[in-house]
């Protein structure tokens, strides 16, 4: 089928906005042609997601100047200049997929179950386990309150104790939980635990819920097998959850492939980049309600690249903006603001954005405040990601003498910023930042990359659509991703090590494909942007001073290549672990202004 495709329409129904993109085949491959958007219409008074889809497509129609709709339907296949050959969609509207997961031991099967649900694109409302500190009746009360879209029940290794797994199933049966959407259907429950317990679980739960049994997600302590549980979650998401959300039944009949949860689609793209480029990748998608972080890092235990996704359900830039303030504290936000702000006024501004989530910053000061909040939302989400993206806890490890010396343990975070090759940002506040340098500095400040790290953003926030497209037309998705979606910003070079302000810490030699080489001696505390001619790659030779590491070991030089990027190469010797800002307000503001000037961040000083 994919050989005949001339045009593709892809939509993403977000919690605030529905985005549509039109892709067309040209002589040299597929290109993004135009993009439209409209408010999502899952809520009253519309309560029909297809209204927002049609509005967004109508905008694409107007901008492209060719008909795509046939009344209230998307016209497929393309006939002459009208319609498209393929229509696909993702969705996170209506709160996305909300799940409760359970395992026997919180840090083992509980954590594996959480990773399976998150990897499938869900928001995890609660993780229940026998050792989670709650008494049985407290668990039952919680299960009754939650009203999730779906439950993932895991626990036990294959061939292990059946009784403890049965106990969790009995608690679930006693709670008799109800689904969030549509009172008239049974709650989907996926059992992915000890296979020997499947029959017992079925006899406890079978008549009360829509039970699906899949292979164990932790068949042995040493192995995770998340694929079957993830697939079952995707299938049930379509069959049960989406079918009960307003308008989705109709939307499902329009799409060529099943509608995918937005984060699941973004995760696919991140995994593909990491596999293709054979490097560690960290991706972030910051939305209005939630922030998703995706990572692919090598398992130091030798298990190869490991994909992880976390969702911070209440960290975002509109619906959840107030929660960023609640979690980061007002001081956490204010430390990024280069001008004095009245606390009462700032609190009111943040709340006003929450209650009117579709407004946009008009004044420069307002933009700076939003970008300060974004840094904290990203930082907090990344902290949560590091805590969950860990090696399997509880496994027996074959250790050699070097492991013993390094005291490495099972359950250590897989996130190694020094090994990170590419950091990709997505979501309105990053993709639509008026200057690309703003997106770059927000990500550097929030993630504090170490050594040499390339940075990129999704140009107009279309990774979800390309993710779902890649499941049906990989070539088109890959071509549009490379040419029209991914905007290379440049790279950050950050030496690691203790230093004193003003003392030398590294020298960097940059050799762009086009243009003359340049050499920079960098002192500790310095923050510089080196613009490079756009296009092609830049060769970097970094020589750290004794005691500093840029990725090859303390004092050892590193040679590498990065994409040139539209912003340039940032030499960031501000320090890490910890990265600190001056306590004194005037000194802090002066520092922030100095860094903003270095990046030409804003059209005037704020």
């Amino acid at each position: 089928m994919s050989g005949d495709i001339r045009s593709i329409l892809a939509t993403d129904c977000g919690s605030t906005t529905t985005k549509a993109i039109l892709i067309e085949r040209e002589a040299d491959g597929f290109r993004l042609k135009t993009r439209g958007e409209a408010p999502t219409t899952v809520e009253a008074p519309f309560e029909d997601v297809t209204r927002g889809v049609l509005n967004a497509v109508r905008e694409v129609e107007e901008l492209r100047g060719r008909p795509l709709l046939d009344g209230e339907r998307i016209r497929t296949p393309q006939q002459g200049e009208a319609g498209v050959d393929l229509y696909v969609s993702t969705s996170s509207a209506g709160g996305g997929l909300q799940m409760m997961v359970s395992g026997l031991v919180l840090q083992m099967t509980g954590e594996s179950a959480q990773r399976a649900a998150l990897g499938a694109g869900a928001i995890v409302m609660d993780v229940m386990a026998l050792n989670d500190g709650r008494r049985p009746h407290e668990k039952i009360r919680r299960l009754r309150q939650l009203r999730p879209d779906m439950i993932l029940l895991s626990g036990g290794t294959d061939g292990g104790d059946v009784r403890r797994v049965a106990e969790m199933a009995e608690l679930l049966a006693a709670a008799d939980p109800k689904a969030r959407l549509g009172a008239g259907y049974e709650l989907p429950v996926v059992f992915a635990g000890n296979r020997d317990a499947a029959a017992t679980v079925a006899s406890s739960l079978g008549s009360r819920v829509a039970l699906s049994t899949v292979p164990n997600l932790r068949p042995t302590l040493e192995r995770e097998n998340l694929g079957p549980a993830r697939d079952a979650i995707h299938e049930l998401f379509m069959e049960h959850v989406m079918a009960h959300a307003p308008g989705y039944k109709k939307l499902m009949t329009w799409t060529a492939v099943p509608i995918m949860p937005t984060p699941g689609a973004v995760g696919l793209i991140i995994e593909k980049i990491a596999r293709r480029d054979r490097r560690s990748v960290l991706g972030v998608d910051i939305g209005g309600a939630t922030t998703d972080i995706f990572s692919v890092f090598d398992d130091p235990g030798g298990a190869g690249p490991v994909f992880n996704r976390t969702v911070s359900a209440n960290l975002g830039m509109s619906y959840s903006i107030s929660n960023v303030m609640a979690e980061a504290g007002l001081d956490g936000i204010l430390r990024w603001v280069p001008f004095p702000v009245d606390e009462v006024e700032l609190r009111n501004r943040i709340k006003n954005k929450m209650i009117r989530p579709t407004t946009i910053p008009q004044s420069l000061e307002d933009l700076v405040l939003e970008q300060a909040i974004c840094r904290e939302a990203l930082r907090l989400s990344f902290e949560q990601h590091r805590a969950l993206a860990v090696g399997l806890k509880g496994r027996q490890q074959a250790r050699d003498i070097s492991d013993a010396l390094e005291q490495s343990a099972s359950g250590a975070s897989l996130v190694d910023l020094m090994a990170l090759g590419l950091l990709v940002g997505s979501g309105g506040v990053l993709s639509h930042a008026p200057r690309r340098a703003q997106a770059m500095l927000m990500m550097i400040d929030a993630f504090l990359p170490e050594g040499v790290t390339a940075l990129a953003v999704d140009s107009i926030f279309m990774t979800p659509q390309l993710g779902v497209l890649s499941t049906v037309h990989e070539e088109a998705a890959a071509q549009v991703f490379e040419r029209d979606c991914l905007v290379h910003l440049g790279a950050c070079v950050a030496p690691m090590g203790p230093g004193r302000a003003g003392h030398a810490c590294m020298s960097v030699e940059l050799t762009p494909e086009r243009g003359a080489p340049a050499r920079h001696a960098v002192t500790y505390g310095e923050f510089t942007l080196v613009p490079v001619p756009q296009g092609g790659r830049v060769r970097l030779e970094v020589r750290p001073e004794r005691g500093f590491d840029v990725g090859a070991g303390r004092g050892k030089p590193l040679q590498t290549e990065v994409e040139a990027g539209v912003v340039g190469i940032v030499l960031d010797a501000r320090g890490r672990r910890p990265f600190t800002l001056p306590e004194d307000a005037a000194a802090r503001i002066a520092k922030l202004r100095e860094w903003n000037r270095a990046m030409s961040l804003y059209p005037r000083e704020v």
Partner: protein
Amino acid sequence: MSHSYTPGLRVTAQARVRRERRLPLRGEVLLERGARVTPETVVARTELPGNVQTVNLAAGLGVEPARAAEALLVPVGSAVRKGDGIARASTMFGLVQNRVEAPADGVIESLSPVTGQLILREPPIPVEVNAYVAGTVAEVLPGEGVVVETEGAFLQGIFGVGGETSGPIACAVAGPDAELRTPDLRAEHRGCVVVGGAWVSHDTLMQAREFGVRAVVVGGFDDADLRRLLGRDLGVAITGSEEIGLTLVITEGFGRIPMAARTWDLLSERQGETASVSGATQIRAGVQRPEILVPRAGGAPAPSESAEDGGLDIGSPVRVIRAPHFGRLGKVCELPAALQPLETEALARVLVVEFADGSGRATVPRANVERLAP
């Protein structure tokens, strides 16, 4: 491109409003279609299943789970009182007698032969649902509740805290731009829905609670005061279940913002009439705004509450809902089609608004205005 603005909140003198009054679980509906109700009328009743207690019988008796059933003194399905013996077994060749007692009043629901766990269900918890607003039962939802229909003034606020309540409307200040101060509150406000103007402080709100005021409706409120009221920073805007002693409805936003003239006029016209007020707000997934309903039959023909807002046109009255002109009112005087650069350098669809106070014009992103009812 008329969809890139925030639809204004509904503020109308006469609307036909339907409110579903549903039980959390199936139960008994007490009224029939056509019945007249007041806010306090109980329309449906049910019993929530009682809390569950788990008793590890096998461990308590020291027997294998599969044999726990043999030790039961009363069969599954029996009602028991707290302290009643429910199982007994002897171990150590009959030397040790183990006895397990019921930890609470309830019914023995099940006993698992796999885990030896006994589930004891405590007595059911009665739940009643009232009509919330005066009107007529328009529909009976068998086993679930009723739909109450009423006609009258319908006003949505932008944010609220506290649950459903009702009481006569009392305007306590001189006008929509006045702040509600403690001296404005009087003993006769007890049981009332008190309308302030542009702002109320936390201290005055607490004073209103002392006076027995049921709800306060005001233009603006400070987030710093909200924090004091709730005892925490409100992270996610899902409200309505706070137990703060009264209900607060903010009609315009956070900060000192004069109440929209239309809202003020409507509430002051209806002084003394009974209003039903809910502070429940949900800003994501299932948007819900706080509301004030003032039933009055026999008004002008009432449009349904879900009547859609029209688009923005030249002359449409709007309010700016974001800095730097936050809260200001005016009329649209230009709607340029092309994207225009803002001070932030972002390109956005804009409009030009002429301010109502005669202070001139300003260009504002369309996303940053809400259309007001003409």
